[in-house]
Structures are given as C-alpha cells and as structure tokens.
Amino acid sequence: MLNIGNKQKRVDGPQKVTGKATYAADIASPFYHAYVLQSTIACGSITAIDTSAAEAFEGVKGIFTHKNLPERLKNKVDYTDPLSPPGKPFRPFYNDKILYNGQPIALVVAQTFEQARYASKLIKVTYEEKKFKGSLSDNLKNASADRAPEPASNRGDFKKAFKNSDYTIIREYRQSRNYHNPMEPHATSVEYKSDGSLVVYDKIQGVASSLKYLNGVFGLGADRVQVKSDFVGGAFGSGLRPQYQLFMATLAALELKHNVQMVMTRAQMFSFGYRPEVIHTMKLGCSKDGILKALSHKTVGETSTFEDFNETIVDWSGLLYKCDNVNLEYELTPVQSYTPLDMRAPGGVSGVYALECAIDELAHEAGIDPLEFRRKNYVDYDQNEDKPFTSKELMACYARCEEVFGWKNRKDLSKTEPHLLKGYGMATGSWEALQQPASVSLSMNEEGTFTIKCATADIGTGTYTVMSQIAADKLGVSIEKIKFMLGDTAFPDSPIEGGSWTVSSVGSAVASVCEKFKYRIADIWKRNNPDYQAVAFEDISFQKGKLEYGSKTFAFTEIMQQASKEELSIAHSESPAAGQNTHSGYAHCCVMVEVTVDKDLGIIKVPRLVNVSAAGKIINPKTAENQLLGSMVWGLGMALREEGMVDTRYGRVMNANFAEYHIAVNADIHDIHTEFVEEKDDKVNPLGAKGVGELGIVGLAAAISNAIFDATGKRLRKLPMLLDDVLEA
C-alpha cells in the first residue's frame, strides 16, 4: 500500500491556494447579477409592491415578484428535492403570503451586483401584517409527536425502573439555533446557451439534487440542463438541499434568456436553514454502584409552518449505553421561520449533548468518576436495532484519551491562579458509518493516465484526494496518474455528500472499479499473449503502472498498444456491503477538555481539547485530522459562542453577520489534539473505513459543560454557555 493510510497532501491544494479552484461564483462568463429583496415582516401578506423606480434604475434588466411569476410555475409544479422533509417546500414568489421574516419577495436582475442591490431598495412594499407568534418556547403548546417520525421503540419499563433507582436526575437542557455559515456563501451561476439549454454551476452537496429540483420546478431534464459543482467552499449541510439562489438564477436566466449569477450576501445566509432550537428533558436513574437502570429522553424541536423537518435526536440515548428500560419521545413545534436544515452531525450533536450532560450529572450523583461510569455502562451491541456493531473500539478510545489527557491525575495538573477555577470534563461521541449505493466510471488513456468520474462532491472534506489515493493504491500506479472528477450531472450517480458516507460509498465503488480494471487488463494481456493464457489472476500483481507475472513486467500502455486499444473504459455500481444490513455501523470517540472559569468575571476559556476516535481504516490521516479539528473547533463554538438571535417580537435574526454571530476564532483555540486508535472492520464496507466528517463535533459541547461544572459547581444546561450564565447561575 503506497497511499492509503498516508498523510497525503490535498491534490487540489495548489488550485485552492492560488485561486484557480472555481467555485460556483467564480465562473467567468458575462453575467447579469441578481439580488433578492427580503420581507421585513414575519407573517401576513403583501398588499402592494411597486417596482417602477427600481425598473427605471440604471442597469436593471428585470424584476421578478409574485406578480409576474410565469404562469407555468403556478401549475402542478414539484418543488421538492431528494431531501425534502414531509410538507410543502418553500415556493419563491408563489403568492402574496409571507411565511417568515427575511423571505425573498422580489428579485432584481441588473448589469452589476451593486445596481441590483441598490435597485432592490427602491422597491416599495406594503404589507398587511399579522402578529408574529414567537419562537419555540412561545409555541410549546403546539408541540406534537404526530409531525415527527417515531423514535426507536421503547424498551423495558422505564417508570418502574426509574422509581426503583438509587440515584435519579430529571433535567432540562436547551440549545439555541445555529447557522451553518460556510466560508463560501451560496451562489449559482447559470449559463444560458443559444439552444436554450443551461449549464448551472451551483453550490450544492450533490448535483443530482439541483437537477431533480430544476426538473420538478422548471421542467428541465438532463437533456436541457447540466449541473456542475467542482468546488464547494464548505457547506456543513447547508448545501444538502438546493437553496433559493438556484431558483432565482435559473428563473431569471430562462426569462431573460441570458447568463445570470446570484451570490447571497452574508446576511442572506441567515435567511434559510439552520440547526433548530431544541429543548431536551432527561430522566435518568442508576443503581448504587452506577449501573444505568432507567433512561428517558424527550426532545421538542422547532420546524417551519410548511415542512416538518426532523432529525434523529433521542435515538442516540437508546444507543450509547447499556440500559434495559428506555423511553424515547420526539415532538415538533412549527414556528414562523424557514425550515431548519441538517447541520454537521444533525440530531447526533443535539441528542448526545443532552445525554452526555445527563450521564455526567448522574455519575456525579452516584459519586462515580465520569469515565468509570461510562465504562461500567458500556454496551457492545445496538440495543435500538438489536444488532451487533460492525466494530466498536470505544474502550480503546477511552483508554488512550485517558492516557494522553492525563485524566487520572487531572486534578494535580492544576496550577492555581487565584481567580481562575479549573475544571475537567469528558464525553463520548458517535456518528453513523453508513454506506450508500454509488456508481463510478474509469477510463485509461494511451499514456496510462486514469480518469475516474463520479457525481459526488468535495465540500472541503478531501474527496478529490482520498479517491485518488484509493485508486492509485488499488491500481498500483502513482497518484499523479489519477484524475478524479466529480460534481457533474453528466457523471455516474452518487449519493449526496453528507452523512459522512462518501469515503465509504464512493470510495468502495472506486476500489471496485479499479479491481474490475485489473481483471480486464489481465484478460487483454492473456488474450494477446497465448503463452500466458493459463495464468491465474491470483498469480499476477500490479505495480508502477505495470502488470507483473513472475519476473516479467508488462506496462498497461504496452498491453493496450498490443491490443490496438486507445482507451479502456469501465463502469461500476457498488451496493452497500452486506454488513450494513446485519450489523450496525458507528464511529466513536472520547473527548476530554480542560476549562478555566474566572470566578469574578465569568470568562470561560478552553486551554485544552483532546479527542481520540475509532473510525475504522483511516485512508488519509491528514484530511481525517483536518475534519476532526474543524469539527472540534465548531463544537467549542456551539458550546460557548454561537446563537442565532431571533427577536421574538419580529421573528427577525438580529445578528445576521460575522461581527455579532460569534463563531469561534483562532484566539479561542489553544491546545487541541486528535488521534485515532486502530479499528479493524471487515463488515462496514470493503474498505473498512468509516467517515470522520461529523464525529468530532458530537459530545464536545457536553464535555465543556461538564468541565464548567467541575470548575464551578454550576450546571449551565443551555447552549451557548456565556459568561453571564456563569455569573447568574
């Protein structure tokens, strides 16, 4: 093995750092620019909209509102995309109704972005306003389990077991709304071709989603539109569903018969999906010696009034620890807002936050070290599904994390500064290791260069690199000989890039297509070399672009020449491994943190973060580490910084910018360390690899919360935890 398991630098690194990587807004065609005007009320309707001044403004090419939506878009049009939750998707300009504050109500298309932006301000809108009904907490009476999918089944007798427990806790935990905020704002560039067909460059985590949407809404099939997405500057779930800029740019391009580009502003990045606000109620009971006897987890989350967005939240509480008496409930409450959207480790982050805080509280009640408590309640099979795990080296994570962090002697580590309280906390994290069907094609040209295509995406995770590594190793060629291409609806189908399943799904397909290639080239070689006809495939090896048999070597290119072939092409569709059915696949981690809390000023700092993960075979430790570090930084942000501030009088996000929506910055991150333990897995997929894009954010907020308690004796039970929470607790 040459590449797999090595810290391979990103193959697209040079393009990215020299600005040559083309993101959706970097396409250089002559575009008209589109800018969206948003509603300033949360509920009601538009009674009048006067666009005359905007139309007269220099450079303006067209204005779209509910008044002039093309008739065909009002007919039986399908606005869904592959990840639409139950309900009716948002339909821009469909009628005069206002569903949320910040809703796009007009689109101005002009020669320049600045003209479009200013002209949008000249549009006069009159509303009939209805009162905004408030946020999640104001609407709890409308919470209902009917709108939400059923969680994993209850087991045992929770009530009885809870009553008979020696130690019990009942606690509520709250999480505020978070926004994805990828570095690259959402953008779509549409090229309008002379034959009326379109090439659409979209910011999306799977081009097939955009295509499905364009087909449903505009009736554009694959014959009339090609969707491309070579590079995505982060998405974290915000690109799982097509966002409204795709609708806008396409509508304008079709109507104006011209290239149109729309790039959202940072403020507009707060006008669609988000990680929903949720409230958890946890009831846990254990025996004197710390054996978990009863667990109930109820979550109420916000959704929009038009779609029932749901996540898998409470199921995590039925999964992570051995417990025979479990009760899980999940409810949704509609609020007048856009529909929430999956965000990095959707559901897992939320469920595990509440569970890992509650476990810590129970361990404390029982007077047992939090790590010991978790070991006591370890479980080696999936109780929700009643299946074994494909692999689970969480015990090794605990052990290694304990050692690297110095958990046992942690209290001795404290140097005392008079006003600083030190605390230590930990949590378990976990994320699904799924595999989806994926297809790829491979071709080798006469120079022996391989092109592998798949409609998957690289959202910054390193797909280009990892796939090139896998192919290079499987084919026995150097990585420079591999050209991996993605993000194009002309390429073979792929699952949407999300759920940390890309390495598992696309990677396995790449490995298989390479295997197929080897059989094929061996066949050709045998056919043209009668002497070797009887050679068994097992006796051949492949190295440095050559087929090797005994002491003889035959370059792939020679074999092709001999057969007078210019190109060799192979397609392959990979189905999930059998183990995906018979077993449950999860990656796991242990995270430990050190915090300091200023006892007079409430300031919380995190001098140390350690994560040890078990995620099967790590194809590229460098990109894997990147993923872990990034998600840990975000976990810190979620714990201590991020809060989408919705004014409950107006339904408006009041901090829709990077000055006031606080993401973690470099100065917030001190010592941060991540490692992987060895984990062999022959069931999860042929590569034995689990994704790591989401794992690191799961559990981290709980670990910080637990450490704050250790330092101060205060349980803050809300996210984000701010200095005023410390002072007021």
């Binding site: 600045e114 006003h419 004014d647 408006r652 606080h662």
Partner: protein, 325 residues
Amino acid sequence: MKPFQYTRLSTEDLSLGTTLRDSTILAGGTNLVDLMKYGVEEPDSLADIGKLPYAQIEESDKGLLLGALVTNADTAYHAAVKSTYPVLNKAILAAASSQLRNRATNGGNLLQRTRCYYFYDTTMPCNKREPGTGCAAIKGFNRIHAILGTSASCIATHPSDMCVALAALEAKVHVLRKGETIVIPFDQLHRLPGDQPEKDHNLEPGDLITHIQLPAEGFSEHFEYLKIRDRESYAFALVSVAACLKVSQGKIADIRVALGGVAHKPWKLKEVEKDFFGKEASTENFQSLAEQLIQGAQGFGTNDFKISLVKGAIVRALNNALNPS
C-alpha cells in the same frame, strides 16, 4: 448602496469649512462603508481625507500628538505609545482584528457608531437612525447595551476600545472648524443620548478631527486595559476598563478609571476619582470606587449582568494596574 459623489481632498482643499459641510468624511471606511452597505448611512457625497497631512505622530514635551489619519495599528506599535502610554497600546490591540486595525484610523475610531443590532437593521425602529421611530432595544436584545447614562429614547453604547483609554488618559481632540483649530477635552467629545440619540457627539457638520493630543503623563508604571468580551478576539467589549494609577507609599496619588461598553460614551467621573486621592491603594477602596462610579446603573433585562460584572472588572483592573505582572 445609494449612489454617491466621491472626492479625494488634497491639502489645497483645506479651505475646508465649505467643502466638508455637505459631505461625509471617509477615512479608513471600515465603519462607514459597512453602514452604507446596510443602508444605515446614505451620504450623497463622500470626502476622502486619506491624503490630508494628518498621518504623523509627533512628539513634544507637552505629550504626543497623534494624527487623525494614523492607523490604529501604527499608533499602537509606535515606540512612544508603547513606552509612555501602554494603556493605549493595550486598548487598541484589544480591538477588532489586525486587518481592521491596519485600515482603521484614529479619527474614524473616535467617531465610529454604535453596534446596536437594531441600529444596523433598517427595518427596525431606532431613534438613533430614524428619530421618533422608537427604540427596539429597550425591550429587545440588549445584552450589549448601556447601563449608565441611558435615556428613554436610546440605550446604545459607544463601541470603541481606544476611546476608553483616551478618556482615562484625559486626552484632547483637535478639530478643524471653519479653518480654525479648536481643542476639545476628551470627555466633551462624546455625549449621552438624552432626547437626541441621533447625535453621537458634540462636533458640528463640517468639523474635521486632525489630531489627538495625549498629555505628558502616560501612567506607564501602573495601568491596565481589561476587556471582557464573548470571544478571545474580534468581538466588541461587553464591558471594558481602562485603569491608570500613580501610587506613592501605598497611597493613591492619582487614579483614572474609564469604562467601555456601559454607556453612550466612555464613562469616567473625575469627582469620584478625586475622592480617592491620598487614600490607600487597596481592594476595599477600589471596590468603593467601583460602587460610586456606577451609581445609578440600570439594566434592561439581558444586560442586567453588566452591573455586577463591571464592578468586578474595575476592581480586577485596578489590582492588575497596582501589581503589574
């Protein structure tokens, strides 16, 4: 952004009185341009002062003269600022990010506008942006708002860090008004909102800040700038304290305490400070000074915590100033 006229002023244009009255001054643009994009400020005409001759720092025995166009970064790292006015160095470096400090000017820093969420959002009621529309912050998100010197029409804060240090140092501001230089003591530059929150300061249209005059005394021995914020960099102060001390045989010979993040202007009360001259430099006295300094403080809900926080911060800052680490 509304279309506007743009003029770059040259030294010859310094018959300024007329030129500037109808224009908005553009310096580094880090605040003004931002506000223009949001539609909060919609000037018809911008006067770029970047080429005017106020980009030097001059030393004299009366103190240091900071040109209005010197960047925040160059000011902070100037040798004399570092050695004689370390509290100013520390305050400037606690602000924004290095990119912003490289661009932001001293004049612009003084006149930067509030970060009130509702001021920034043109769809919201705001008396400062649109007099008479009401104040959405009083019953809204006011975690970053003022607890001192507020009025029924506005509870905004002045967001600058640099200004808090300048207030403590009792700097003076040189202003070119109708061709004449006038000198304004720092505590008279900014104002409290009263019933005219649209006015941040006491300058008149057309006034140009040319310099900031630092007095000879820089409190280089006993000083602290303590900034409390929501992240360790790139966030405005929830509360900040500039503390300067002169101590003689354990007694306070001079004491200056200015507060940021609590009022519409840096908060400093000379009468209170004077009360402590000659007293022992002790935690008890610092506590009592803190109590007096924030007397009458009033919270509006989510900013109630600032009242106890600022007391703790004053005592901590003074103790740090007393015992430099």
